[in-house]
């Protein structure tokens, strides 16, 4: 029996994740009609709003539609009741992140500012403790090139251990959450069974969408050519997001995979890849953050009009990481030892908590959930086609 139970209390709970006005929805379907991402296989956002209003958590947790939305905001602009479906979809994404997480930490981070701040401070203090206990000498001696001997204070081999443990923890939680997501979206479906072959043939989707965020191009489906849209600035959000993403990925690979090479005491020429890549990463992150922050402060586009505290946490932490990183770099190459050491510690006290908390348990998880969601959705669509 396909009977689902109505849960009227859920409406109050979802409000903690940001959405306030969805109750005004009277199911006209304008939002779904105007949405450029919805299609016959996956209908949204009205269905998701309906599930939310009725409190059908089971349906919500097994749906992939929230991840197929890229928050262009057309639905909210066209809603005749100002029910803000776009914001509801965003809130459902936060809710789903909280549900995929089996530890329960994510829910606390999203619904309580105290927990969010507390968790960050907690991890930061652990990092500080590690530095107090295990850091090397704060030597004022400079290198032959005039740079600070950073690796005396914080030998990259030791830091690498910290980095790898962090990366390991992060991956463990994130991957287990993805498995949870997989169970809910794909395996729990009774109407379709995915043949093994499809798991391989659709695999490319994960990396493709991870690196390109190609679906952004489908948002705001006006009848203009690709280049016209770039020229008119419609793809700005996407391009800046790509900039930010590639910047962060570059930096992440360098500090996790090539820390010895990256955290060097040598002071290379400005055009040396170690410096150039660093500058690229910094430029990407800072540009992106400032762009997104301005959008949120000025509430320029629809998706930036409603901000949850988790949005600010993300922006602020990333900005401070990049900012402290660039300060650190300049202190080091211009031979300011104490400034370098203290900035280094502060940099780590921001970076580690950000990675451990934001990636598996909070907003940053979208880097994994989104590409996998597309992958899962393709699995189901292709499986249905085969079934026919």
């Amino acid at each position: 029996m396909n009977m689902a139970k109505i849960n009227p209390d859920f409406a109050e709970e979802i409000k903690k994740y940001g959405a306030q006005d969805f109750n005004a929805c009277y199911n006209c379907g304008n939002c779904t009609a105007v949405c450029s991402m919805t299609d016959a296989d996956n209908s949204f956002p009205r269905k998701i709003i309906r599930y939310t209003s009725l409190g059908l958590e089971g349906e919500l947790q097994t749906s992939v539609e929230p991840w197929l939305c890229y928050y262009c905001g057309d639905c909210s602009t066209s809603c005749p009741r100002q029910a803000d479906p776009g914001n509801l979809m965003m809130s459902v994404r936060r809710y789903l992140v909280a549900k995929y997480d089996w530890t329960g930490l994510s829910k606390k981070l999203y619904t309580s500012k105290v927990w969010e701040l507390g968790a960050i401070i907690f991890v930061a203090l652990i990092v500080l403790l590690l530095f107090i206990l295990y850091s090397g000498e704060m030597t004022t001696e400079l290198t032959t090139e005039g740079g600070v001997k950073l690796n005396t204070f914080a030998p990259w081999q030791n830091v690498e251990i910290l980095d790898w443990s962090m990366a390991g923890l992060l991956s463990f939680f994130l991957l287990s959450n993805i498995v949870n997501m997989f169970f809910k979206i794909v395996l729990k479906r009774k109407d379709v069974k995915v043949p093994l072959k499809l798991y391989f043939t659709e695999l490319f989707n994960i990396l493709f969408h991870f690196f390109t965020q190609w679906n952004f191009s489908k948002c705001n489906a006006e009848k203009k050519s690709f280049w016209e849209k770039i020229k008119s600035g419609e793809y700005n959000y996407w391009l800046i997001h790509l900039f930010l993403m590639t910047a962060y990925v570059t930096m992440f690979i360098m500090i996790v995979g090539f820390l010895g090479w990256f955290q060097t005491d040598n002071v290379y020429k400005w055009y040396h890849p170690q410096r150039l890549l660093g500058y690229y990463a910094t430029a990407g992150i800072i540009t992106g953050i400032i762009y997104f922050a301005i959008l949120r402060i000025k509430k320029i586009i629809e998706k930036s009009k409603k901000t949850h505290f988790s949005d600010w946490t993300f922006l602020i932490l990333l900005f401070l990481t990049a900012f402290s990183g660039i300060l650190l770099h300049f202190f080091r190459i211009y031979g300011m030892p104490y400034a370098t050491y203290y900035t280094y510690v502060i940099h780590m006290m921001i970076l580690i908590p950000m990675l451990i908390i934001e990636v598996p348990f909070s907003k940053w998880s979208h880097l994994a959930y989104r590409p996998f969601a597309i992958y899962f959705s393709r699995l189901i669509i292709e499986a249905k086609k085969i079934k026919k």
């Binding site: 029996m1 396909n2 009977m3 689902a4 139970k5 109505i6 009227p8 409406a11 006005d21 109750n23 005004a24 929805c25 009277y26 199911n27 269905k47 309906r50 599930y51 209003s53 009725l54 059908l56 009741r81």
Partner: protein
């Protein structure tokens, strides 16, 4: 059975009209496009008695009306025939013309050559013209025999009986009294206010029903032209417009008016007999000495004699103030008009309809409203606090396969308004609406938006798959297939299920309809004459209906309706005299032998036996007679005729039809325009050309078009029309198998 044989009277005893004016209308093409009005006007000049015959573009136009008046005066016409549209449109216009020109308005006859000629026969213009000849000749013959008639004037009593003192009746009473009429307000219950008194807060103003009733009652009390009878019912009515005799029966309150108030209060407090309270739909019990509610008006107690009749000791003790043997009173009221505002009952769900009366926690919307009024602080039902309410809409209404096919109009708004009140009064109550459609029309739409915004959940079901209410353990559960969540089966636990029941006609409405002789519809609501043009009048002259007894309405609409009726009534009787159309039956007293057959068939009781000049004959009550004509054919001696439809006139019309008709053919071929709109006149020409062409050999449309040098589209249009009327048919496909060949059909 013609008049010649029986009556001995000759055909032409009536003074014939000899100076007749005939006006044939083009109607801007509506008539003249099909009927040859020019030829007709020429022909009619030769008819007996016709002085002038004209064809005019628009007979009803001001300019033509003026011209007609001038013609009548200049040429000394004594009667006119207007051949144009249906009399439903301009009968009164041309009667007015006749009057202004000094003619009797009944020396004018309307001939319908549009709805009954040019329009239905647009495909046979020649035959239409022939028919028009017959119709106009008949009209001319008829008007030649027309009699000058005067309106019938009767006295009218400036008093009105209003049946039902609900909000509609009371409001109408106030206006009628203020306009100078006496009003007898007859209410069946012992207290006024009807349904409005039972409703708590009303939409859109949130005013309490009780307050509205009190306001109206106080105003009624202040106007001494209004007499209120409570506990009173209509028993019989006789007479007619202007002079009705209405007998009412008044049930007693069984309380001695002169009794000591303290003693009565003692009786009330000592009264131990309690019965289910009908006013609160059985939710509470009331004593046998009661008022509907503490502030009920009139402010007098009533004794439920049925309940107390076995309490011998009690009755003996309080015999000075309670007397259950008080008799009924009967009164006859004399009034010029009657207004029926008896209102409605609410639909009572069947046993186990959505669990009603079977499961604990299923009530109707009116019951909920009583519950809310009786529980101002916390909503409690069956000793349990109510935290969630599930409304199921359209119960007992919109039954496509049931008795009540209609929608009751007010209930969507009332339910949503109630839901808003629930949230306002009881803060943490949740509301769920299981609906089929939401009809918060007009300015009431605002309530729907407010309800959504406050978190009410709406679920839509289809009539075929209504929600199912059942018990799950000790929890009430509603299951439904939700059409706005992809027809998913959903389940809701709730404390209370409220069935939104609509209005049904009162159980006593059929007996009232029989007494008043007003028609009642299949849905048992009283019928008006015309829903748009005469919404408050009934076929009985002088009997009006207003408010929800005519059909489901909300309070505002009910009051509008009864006020409309009060204005009409006042207009009718304010002068003390009423002028009626003289199209009534007339009895020839020389011929009538009073067999009684006419009185038997008359629906309006307009025929009575009287003694006149030594013999018994039939007499027509001209106020009641509607001129329907059913009495005329049943009279075995042909003594009854209807004014303007006398045997003379009708027989002469038949003669007019039977005359031979000779029409002149239209001479010469006209140049046919290939472009532009084609008028009906040109049809025959193009058709002739096409037929000539395809009679040589079957051709396709492009070939015909090329040959005749007529536009392709035009040829297609005409050929398809001819095909439709079976004048041409297809003769297969052409060589390239792209076009059909056409030939004339035999």
């Amino acid at each position: 059975m013609c008049s010649k044989c029986l009556s001995g009277k000759k055909y032409n005893e009536v003074k014939m009209k000899e100076r007749i004016g005939v006006y044939i209308c083009h109607c801007g093409g509506n008539i003249s496009d099909y009927v040859d009005v020019e030829q007709l006007s020429e022909m009619m000049k030769d008819e007996d008695g016709v002085v002038i015959a004209k064809n005019v573009m628009f007979a009803c136009a001001d300019s033509n009306q003026k011209e007609m008046i001038n013609d009548i005066r200049d040429k000394n016409l004594d009667s006119i025939v207007v051949a144009s549209c249906s009399p439903k449109l301009h009968l009164h216009t041309f009667r007015g013309v006749a009057q202004r020109a000094g003619l009797n308005p009944f020396n004018y006859v309307q001939v319908n050559i549009r709805e009954q000629c040019s329009w239905p026969h647009s495909d046979h213009p020649l035959d239409a013209t022939k028919k028009a000849v017959g119709l106009i000749r008949a009209g001319i013959k008829r008007v030649a025999r027309s009699k000058a008639l005067e309106n019938i004037v009767i006295d009218a009593k400036k008093a009105v009986v209003i049946v039902g003192a609900g909000v509609s009746g009371m409001r109408a009473a106030i206006d009628l009294a203020k306009m100078g009429n006496d009003v007898f307000l007859v209410e069946k219950d012992f207290f006024v206010g009807g349904r409005v008194a039972q409703s708590g807060e009303l939409f859109m103003t949130n005013q309490k029903g009780k307050q509205l009733v009190e306001q109206l009652y106080n105003e009624i009390k202040s106007l001494n032209k209004i007499t209120l009878f409570t506990g009173a019912t209509l028993e019989k009515i006789s007479g007619s417009l202007g002079n009705f005799n209405v007998s009412i029966k008044i049930k007693p309150r069984f309380i001695n008016e002169k009794a000591d108030e303290k003693l009565l209060n003692q009786a009330i407090s000592e009264c131990s007999v309690e019965v289910p309270d009908v006013f609160n739909y059985g939710l509470t019990r009331r004593k046998a000495i009661y008022k509907n509610y503490p502030e009920a008006l009139p402010d007098k107690y009533v004794v439920d004699a049925e309940a107390l009749k076995n309490e011998k000791e009690f009755l003996k003790k309080f015999s000075s103030c309670i007397d259950i043997y008080q008799p009924d009173e009967t009164l006859t009221l004399n009034a010029g008009s009657v207004l029926v505002t008896t209102g409605v009952d609410t639909y009572q769900p069947e046993e186990n309809e959505f669990g009603y009366k079977k499961l604990n926690g299923v009530i109707t919307l009116p019951e909920l409203k009583r519950l809310m009024e009786l529980n101002p602080e916390t909503l409690i039902y069956n000793n349990k606090k109510v935290r969630s309410v599930a409304f199921i809409y359209c119960v007992g209404n919109r039954q496509s396969k049931g008795k009540n096919k209609y929608c009751s109009r007010f209930c969507c708004t009332s339910t949503i308004h109630t839901s808003l009140q629930l949230k306002e009064k009881y803060k943490d109550v949740r509301a769920f609406h299981f609906y089929r459609d939401i009809r918060t029309y007009g300015k009431q739409e605002i309530l729907f938006e407010k309800s959504s915004k406050q978190g009410d959940v709406y679920l839509r079901f289809d009539e075929k798959e209504p929600p199912v209410v059942e018990m799950n353990g000790n929890k009430l559960v509603v299951k439904v297939k939700d059409y706005i969540t992809t027809k998913k089966e959903l389940e809701l636990e709730t404390d209370l299920v409220v069935l939104v029941t609509g209005m049904v006609s009162r159980s006593d409405s059929s007996s009232l309809a029989e007494i008043l002789k007003i028609p009642i519809g299949n849905d048992k609501f009283f019928n008006e004459i015309h829903p748009k043009l005469k919404p408050v009048e009934t076929v009985i002259k002088g009997v009006f209906i207003g408010g929800s007894c005519q059909g489901p309405k909300n309070v505002s609409e009910s009051v509008q309706s009864s006020l409309a009726a009060s204005a009409k009534i006042n207009a009718l009787i304010k002068s003390g005299r009423i002028s009626l159309d003289p199209i009534v039956a007339t009895v020839d007293k020389d011929i009538c032998v009073w067999c009684g057959k006419c009185a038997e068939v008359c629906e309006y009781d307009a025929l009575k036996e009287i003694k006149a000049e030594g013999k018994n004959i039939a007499s027509v009550n001209m106020a009641s007679c509607t001129g329907c004509g059913i009495c005329a054919p049943v009279c075995p001696v042909d003594a009854i005729q209807i004014a303007q439809y006398t045997n003379d006139e009708i027989e002469s019309m038949i003669d007019g039809f039977m005359q031979k008709i000779e029409l002149k053919e239209k001479s010469g071929e006209e140049e046919v325009q290939a472009e532009g709109a084609v008028t009906m006149k040109e049809y025959p020409q193009i058709w002739k050309q096409i037929l000539q062409s395809i009679n040589e050999k079957p051709k396709t449309i492009p070939e015909i078009s090329k040959e005749l040098e007529i536009n392709n589209d035009l040829v297609t249009y005409h050929l398809m029309t001819m095909n439709k009327y079976s004048i041409v048919e297809s003769a297969g496909l052409d060589k390239k198998e792209t076009y059909h060949l056409y030939k004339q059909k035999n």
